[in-house]
């Protein structure tokens, strides 16, 4: 019995801890289904209907996730401002990952190239003996 009471209390506290859903918090995660812009910037008639739908669900005490699920039931998965996980929408998930992998590969290649390069620049060809003698003489004269 004590266990049951404790469980009910935990569940109750968890539910109470969940913040109340608000229209601005949901609007930026939902699309205007007709104009395909975020709901919070759309003034289309269907966007007004979607906002009214969200307000009514908030008034019923639904959480944000419950409201988003209700929106999907009414308007389909495209109402959510996130790409789907099949068909062309899949590209929205795969392309950023592929670009990150490419960039990481590029960084690794560059790092390996830098590591294989010598620290000091390579010395030039040996001086001709005559030039070497003249250079020594000029340096000696310069030091005086």
């Amino acid at each position: 019995m004590r266990l049951l009471v404790a469980l009910v209390l935990v569940v109750g506290l968890t539910a109470a801890a969940e913040p109340r859903a608000t229209l601005p918090d949901i609007e930026d995660e939902v699309m205007c289904v007709e104009c395909r812009t975020a709901l919070n910037v759309s003034t289309a008639p269907v966007a007004d209907q979607e906002r009214a739908f969200i307000r009514a669900r908030i008034a019923e005490g639904m959480t944000k996730e419950q409201i988003k699920a209700a929106l999907v039931r009414e308007y389909g998965p495209d109402v959510l401002a996130e790409p789907g996980d099949d068909g062309f929408d899949l590209a929205a998930w795969l392309v950023p990952g592929a670009l990150v992998a490419l960039a990481a590969g590029g960084v690794v290649l560059l790092a390996r190239r830098w590591r294989s390069e010598p620290d000091a620049p390579a010395a030039g060809p040996d001086l001709d003996p005559d030039d070497a003698r003249r250079l020594d003489a000029e340096l000696t004269a310069f030091d005086r």
Partner: protein
């Protein structure tokens, strides 16, 4: 840039451009039905099981085989759809005895609002729900309202991308009703 690095980068850039091109070109409406109708063809209408609006179960065009169907794509939030509804209701009443029916496809609409709208306007022709316009896309729907006239063999004979008029219905619907299956 060294050739060893150049080719993978070029290929990746080309793939990205191809992806973007596909993304941009694939988002436009399908106009193939319009083109075939313009060539004088009758086009097999797509059939899909859709939830009935206001009742349990599903329905489709196939349920009305042998009838002339005025298939109307509508939504309760769409002002031109609201305007043409009385004409569609009168048409439904007029053609019922001649083997015709108006079938609504309520699209991207909250079902509560849609039902309330039908009650307010005393609309009693049946409607199905196409919640995300998937069925509409197979008809090349690009806006609301749109209307398709379908013969007794399930083929699209005429379409109107925009509000219908009485004159348009008279021109296209009356000859269809005269045809026998």
């Amino acid at each position: 840039m060294r050739p060893r690095v150049y080719w993978p980068v070029s290929l990746a850039a080309a793939a990205l451009v191809a992806l973007l091109t596909y993304g941009v070109t694939s988002t436009g409406p399908d106009t193939s039905i319009d083109e075939r109708l313009a060539d004088g063809e009758r086009v097999e209408a797509p059939v899909a099981d859709l939830p009935k609006l206001g009742s349990e179960g599903t329905g489709s065009l196939a349920d009305h085989e042998g009838k002339v169907v005025v298939l109307n794509i509508w939504a309760s939030w769409c002002p031109p759809c609201v305007e043409e509804m009385p004409l569609l209701q009168r048409t439904h009443e007029r053609i019922a005895s001649r083997g015709g029916i108006v079938l609504g496809i309520d699209t991207q609409d909250a079902s509560e609002d849609a039902l309330s709208f039908l009650r307010d306007y005393d609309i009693d022709f049946p409607s199905l729900r196409d919640r995300d316009r998937e069925y509409g896309r197979s008809l090349g729907v690009s806006g609301y309202p749109e209307t398709f006239l379908i013969d007794r063999e399930g083929r699209i004979v005429a379409l109107r991308r925009g509000p219908i008029t009485r004159a348009w219905l008279d021109e296209h619907l009356n000859p269809l009703l005269e045809e026998q299956a």
